[in-house]
């Protein structure tokens, strides 16, 4: 009964003409004058640092293609300029919900790009599916988005976070590190990494001596660090967002505590910025995931290789790109490739184009490979260590061996 009623309601939604941008567009044979790309960014709050980076990368891409006359759209067989419609969600999911809705129902954007990270992406997933829009998801990698087959979600610029820590886990096992402590932020992004790490370690015979989640806003690590130190771990792994990593590294350096190995996520993505706030000394010997441009891809099949991108971006913005700039730019590239291949200007055709590109495309971020659930399974991250070099640190890839550029310094010397 209720089901039938719901069906009726849904049907009435359709007939009442609630807007379905993808479907509506399909009927229009005439090409639009611009391709509207809707996205959100966070100017403040927990995700601001990362979100702004991603947004700048996407903006840079748009500027570049527009300077070239726009993107080639196969459906209309011509180049059309792109226009980014963006709102500030201030890192709040409820604001983001209203704004994603705004992009879909009021601005009628042609392509919908999520904000940075799993938290701000999560609210867009059901909205996009409801309005039959393909959600281009640059960095929302939380495992629980990708549990079922969908035409309306594609993670384009980072691997699904469940696979991130695999090399890290193998590195720990290889080094025969038996006492591992894991502290993670309670959100999809960090918790799914913590879970994979723990699972892989346990399979290798190592049970973490400490395994605990803290709130995503946590900046007070004093007591936690003492509690962890009491378990005498050799390696301490912290999974957080940039503000957490910063607070964690600062507190660690002032606490007088020392661990043989410390790992955090974001030095490998935002090294310059973190050295400025935390101090290069407090970061020395920390392990991290190295990301482009810190590691380079040379044999790309689409778009510039890493070195060319770094050169062009630096010339244009007077500032070297970080990983999130790369991720934003890469999102643009993937959409560009997609528009150039999709025979029809519809959301389903876009999605099919992405599926066709999967496994055959290599951009500056490496291999583009998504599955039918929308998860990105492209190249795994390696493990690197920050080694002091003058006033700063340089990044040395230490695992896996075929990618290594140096040997790990283990145990880390006491500062």
């Amino acid at each position: 009964m209720i089901k039938a009623l719901k069906k009726a309601w849904l049907a009435s939604v359709m007939t009442a003409g609630l807007v379905l941008p993808g479907a509506a567009m399909a009927d229009t044979a005439t090409a639009p004058s611009v391709i509207k790309i809707g996205t959100l960014y966070a100017s403040t709050g927990n995700f601001a640092i990362a979100s702004k980076g991603q947004y700048e990368g996407l903006e840079y891409w748009a500027k570049e293609v527009n300077a070239d006359g726009g993107v080639f759209v196969k459906a209309f067989n011509k180049k059309i300029p792109v226009k980014i419609v963006a709102y500030d969600d201030q890192s709040s999911t409820s604001t983001a919900t209203t704004l994603y809705n705004q992009l879909i129902t009021q601005d009628h954007v042609d392509l919908l790009v999520a904000d940075f990270g799993s938290v701000l992406t999560s609210v867009a997933v059901p909205l996009a599916a409801e309005h039959k829009m393909l959600l281009i998801d640059p960095t929302g990698s939380g495992a629980n988005f990708f549990t079922q087959k969908t035409n309306y979600l594609a993670d384009v610029s980072i691997p699904s976070s469940t696979v991130w820590p695999l090399p890290l886990a193998h590195f720990l096992l290889d080094q025969h590190i038996k006492r591992v402590a894991v502290i993670y932020d309670s959100n999809d992004f960090d918790a799914s990494q913590a879970e994979t790490l723990k699972e892989t370690l346990v399979k290798g015979g190592v049970t973490p001596v400490y395994y605990h989640g803290v709130p995503t806003g946590e900046t007070n690590y004093n007591v936690l660090l003492h509690t962890i130190a009491a378990r005498r771990p050799e390696a301490l792994i912290e999974f957080g967002y940039p503000p957490n990593d910063i607070a964690f590294l600062r507190t660690l350096s002032s606490s007088g505590l020392h661990f043989n190995m410390t790992f955090t996520i974001f030095p490998g993505q935002l090294m310059k910025m973190m050295e400025k706030t935390v101090g290069a000394k407090a970061m020395a010997y920390t392990y991290t995931y190295p990301t482009p441009p810190l590691v380079a891809t040379t044999d790309t099949t689409y778009g510039p290789d890493t070195a060319t991108f770094v050169k062009d971006y630096t010339a244009a913005k007077n500032e070297a790109p970080n990983f999130l700039n790369v991720a934003g730019f890469n999102t643009g590239l993937i959409m560009q490739d997609m528009l150039g291949q999709a025979p029809q200007f519809t959301q389903l055709s876009f999605h099919q184009a992405l599926m066709d590109m999967s496994g055959k495309t290599k951009t500056l971020e490496g291999e583009f490979k998504i599955n039918e659930n929308g998860a990105q399974l492209g190249e795994l991250f390696s493990v690197a260590q920050l080694i002091p070099s003058g006033d700063t640190n340089k990044i040395v890839v230490v695992y896996p061996e075929d990618k290594a550029t140096g040997k790990p310094v283990y145990p880390a010397p006491k500062q």
Binding site: V214, T219, N220, V223, T227
Partner: protein, 293 residues
């Protein structure tokens, strides 16, 4: 065992500091019977004062302390005469002040967010000493000890003010019985204004050290600081400024024990204590019954 000692000693230090955070709220309530719901925002302002002192003037954050006193005067004086006498003439000063200062709190938070954004700010880690100082083998950052020393100085100073000065004497008379104080010719308005300024200044001084003890400060931290302060003064005793210290210690040790042994539940401590105390013993651990209905 070492962890237990760490938690208890840490809790005592933390508690002494949080007595300073809360004491201004209690002073203002005791003297004026109004509720400064913007208290936490004034603490937050003190933190940002210290942030400015270090980031734009390049000075040691400790100079945030005199800045907090200046700020307390500059904001407290006009604010007192602008709203407090008017509130006290109204039909329900307690409730109306509660709502009014809530509005003030929102305004402060909005202005600070416009100026600084909602990002968390911290102060230079080594400015108050980069080492550790141990008691009974338990190490705490130097900044904690500085914060505790300043807290003890402020609370001691307040005690001296109450017990050794004429104004302090008059203040106590007003706390004890406002009508009688009026009748004996005390200039209640002036004494109250001074107490109001002292209350705000103490909040600001505490704010200077919040980034060190809590990790960081952001414009939206005010309301949490207000509720925590409320819990502390209710645990201690409403209207009895020095009773705040008892509340602070209960809160500090409770929080540290929870953070050490059940960290994911530690943020419940002040709220659970508040609700329990209010229901079981509304007059606080030290207080005499004050409730009328």
């Amino acid at each position: 065992m070492a962890l237990l000692e760490y938690a208890i000693i840490g809790g005592i230090l933390y508690g002494i500091f949080f007595s300073l955070v809360a004491i201004g709220l209690n002073l203002i309530f005791g003297v004026m019977r109004i509720i400064n719901l913007a208290h936490g925002q004034f603490v937050m302002l003190g933190g940002f004062g210290a942030y400015l002192v270090t980031s734009s003037l390049g000075l040691n954050p400790i100079f945030g302390v005199p800045l907090a006193v200046l700020g307390g005067i500059a904001i407290g004086y006009p604010l007192y005469y602008g709203v407090v006498p008017r509130l006290q003439r109204s039909r329900d000063p307690e409730m109306l002040s509660f709502i009014l200062f809530f509005g003030v709190a929102q305004m402060i938070e909005a202005v600070m967010t416009l100026l600084f954004g909602v990002d968390e700010r911290s102060l230079p880690g080594e400015a108050l000493g980069s080492g550790n100082f141990g008691v009974l083998g338990q190490q705490f950052p130097d900044s904690w000890w500085v914060a505790v020393a300043v807290s003890l100085l402020c609370i001691g100073g307040l005690w001296l003010y109450f017990s050794r000065t004429r104004l302090g004497y008059a203040t106590r008379a007003i706390i004890a019985n406002r009508e009688e104080a009026l009748a004996t010719g005390i200039n209640v308005n002036r004494v109250s204004a001074i107490a109001f300024i002292i209350g705000l200044s103490l909040a600001g001084i505490a704010g200077v050290f919040v980034p060190y003890l809590v990790g960081s400060i952001s414009p939206s931290d005010g309301s949490d600081l207000t509720t925590t302060s409320f819990a502390i003064i209710i645990i201690g005793s409403l209207g009895n400024p020095l009773g705040t210290v008892v509340g602070g210690l209960v809160f500090g040790v409770g929080t540290m024990l929870m953070q050490t042994f059940y960290p994911s539940w530690s943020n419940l401590v002040p709220y659970v204590l508040l609700v329990l105390i209010v229901l079981v013993r509304p007059s606080g651990l030290l207080g005499k019954a004050v409730r009328n209905a």
